[in-house]
Symmetry: C2
Subunit: 196 residues, 2 copies
Amino acid sequence: MGEKTDFLGSVLEGCVSLSRIMADGRRQMVGLLFPSDFIGRPMRPEAPFDAIAVSEVRLCIFSRSRFESLLHDTPALEQRLLEMTLDELDSAREWMVLLGRKTAKEKIASFFAIAARRLAAVRQVALEDGVSLDLPLTREDMADYLGLTIETVSRQISVLKKEKLIIMRDARHLTIPNYNALLEVAGDDSDGGMIA
Amino acid sequence: MGEKTDFLGSVLEGCVSLSRIMADGRRQMVGLLFPSDFIGRPMRPEAPFDAIAVSEVRLCIFSRSRFESLLHDTPALEQRLLEMTLDELDSAREWMVLLGRKTAKEKIASFFAIAARRLAAVRQVALEDGVSLDLPLTREDMADYLGLTIETVSRQISVLKKEKLIIMRDARHLTIPNYNALLEVAGDDSDGGMIA
DNA sequence: CGGCAGTTTGACCAACATCAAGTTGGGTGG
DNA sequence: CCACCCAACTTGATGTTGGTCAAACTGCCG
């Protein structure tokens, strides 16, 4: 778990997962890092979670010691990192609500809604009805992110397809005809949990 | 959800919960704040979660604006806050593993183990076999923290009692005869998830 | 044309939720 | 001091969601 990395960095391109694997093999993803997200655990040599590339990635890497001294000397950088960490904390807590209290169908709908929001942010375009995107995760990765099994993920995706809440050209390519309708199903009141 | 507080602060005595209530009433606790923990959301006027006192509490309160300017002018304070926030983030992620992948029994065992660790830290004593403590939460609060119902919480506590992993003098007073045995049941490999 | 990883679907099962009584214990008023 | 009350908790019977096991399907690569 969590190699002792001597590097910190940020994601430039692609997608990186953060996860924990329990002794008996159960796995839970605890975060999904998109371009501009910070990667690594400043101020602690052992990272408590595994960072795994989910697609091809380009990273920007700094040595831990150089980053930490730079951080120490640059209050503006430290402030920026604090802001990012506070946002990550809010995201993690939103995800706790999903894991603890949402149904399988709500979890899938939430994940699709969030993936669309993140991708729109990365592309720097507005999030409109009819957005299309390629899912960054396999069914197995989704299951581990959502606290489900791959079979349940697959079944609930089929349900959402049948209800016309999503359109899938193939297993990876998603279109959301009506974003607000999807949010409704996700169980988020109106403005839809502002997650990772 | 999350009143617009003009105050930030830290817990001096007692215990405060952070939670989200969904539109239909489902509730998920996303954090439990003990003495020395920070409370509030710096750099963002709206708190995204409700802070609710779980017991009688004493807080140390600062006005938001004064705290934020102090923060801006005091790199050491900012660094301390960054460290605390990074620790909270790790804790939140550990909790995600619990919510997403642990069984009801493992969740209860984890909660008891963590409560004992936190209480020992607050009391500044070592965590030894035979520790006793009064649970800070009702069964309902525990259920909302663990993503369960009160009935399941109650039943799994009964199971742990029958297996002599815990002793309960009454519904609130807990004794842990063998901490490592409890960690074993909690599903954490050996050193037992370092959670908030 | 296989072969294989990823996915889908079906039949069945188990864990946890729900619904419904009881039980306990501390607090109040007679 | 006792009787009652009520909230918190426990326990039992049954229901439902999501997990497990198993079999097929898809599309891509060699």
